[in-house]
Symmetry: D2
């Protein structure tokens, strides 16, 4: 996604929200997570020990958290940074509230 932003100096910037490198990295991790979940499904099918199943689901959650960290870090470095640089206080407040709400979601399903 592209987004235009006016900087205090009056120069227009074109900001790419997620570089192709990060997108590839995130997509590859998500594909691996799909495989992990298919693996958990097989464990259930094979009546594997509950604690081993839960150890595996914990690993999946950890992998998802890793993806979330990549996306969040990218978000702070692009959208949030742009909102702050725009010197539009309402825009900055909105972006930071959004980040706080995402942190709240991380916790709610902690």
């Amino acid at each position: 996604m592209f987004q235009k932003l006016v900087y205090p100096t009056g120069v227009w910037y074109i900001v790419l929200m997620m570089t192709d490198a990060i997108k590839k990295k995130v997509a590859a991790r998500l594909r691996r997570i799909e495989g992990q979940i298919a693996g958990v499904r097989r464990m259930i099918d094979e009546d594997r020990y509950c604690v081993d199943v839960l150890t595996q689901t914990s690993a999946v959650v950890a992998a998802l958290r890793g993806v979330e960290d990549l996306v969040m870090q990218n978000h702070l470095n692009t959208c949030v940074a742009d909102a702050i640089r725009s010197n539009d206080q309402a825009e900055q407040n909105e972006k930071i509230s959004e980040v706080m709400s995402v942190i709240g979601k991380f916790r709610k399903h902690g």
Copy 2:
């Protein structure tokens, strides 16, 4: 998985670790979660807004937590309950330590 256990009364019980009903339920949920993750992958591909991506990954984590709760509740009702009923204190301690360690894993990737 089947597991034989001696009860204090000396009677042998056959305990099914996870009923077919629970296994089906868990497998269906896991299949849906795989679909959700494929959906997140598409969102990345389509350059969707980071916060929307993170809202969706939070929903996936919540769904995984739901699966973990089903598996944990089943584990308490079967393996842990059997260990306690066996009146073998070492066995009970081991099972409860295992449960505490799983709770620790839930937290670590909270």
Copy 3:
């Protein structure tokens, strides 16, 4: 707290819910946590760096989690174990539902 329980064998047991040793350990940890929070209050007062404050609050949460683990492990070993040994299925279900609800609370404020 004392609780009387009938075992399948018909023998009455007296079960102490939390031994004095565990109670002392938990109380000592809680007193230390109070001190840690007073320390965070001083950090705020002295305008300490936000990230250092958050590192300290994380340590407090970790300490509280340690207390919760002690209490939970004790609960599994006493109340839950007694409910299971009582062979009263309704009682067992209730206790295990309670444990699942506590795990849910751990997560909600994860």
Copy 4:
């Protein structure tokens, strides 16, 4: 704490890290949390039911999370925003890495 920052325009700003209003709010909440923990200590002393103790410790963790959110939001609005506005990429990277590391701590003790 005061912190001087050069903006791209070359103007010097004086930035107060946490306003007195926020500091008072945070301090008041922390004092209340100390009271809550003293309350948990009394519950232990009075042999209250483990599940009630754990419900109360969960409330304490939730209250601590509320304090963390206040501090984090303030941190994003001051230090992180200033680092971004400074147009010093190394400074921005460092601040955002710090925020990610704090989010990691939130999760680790989730």
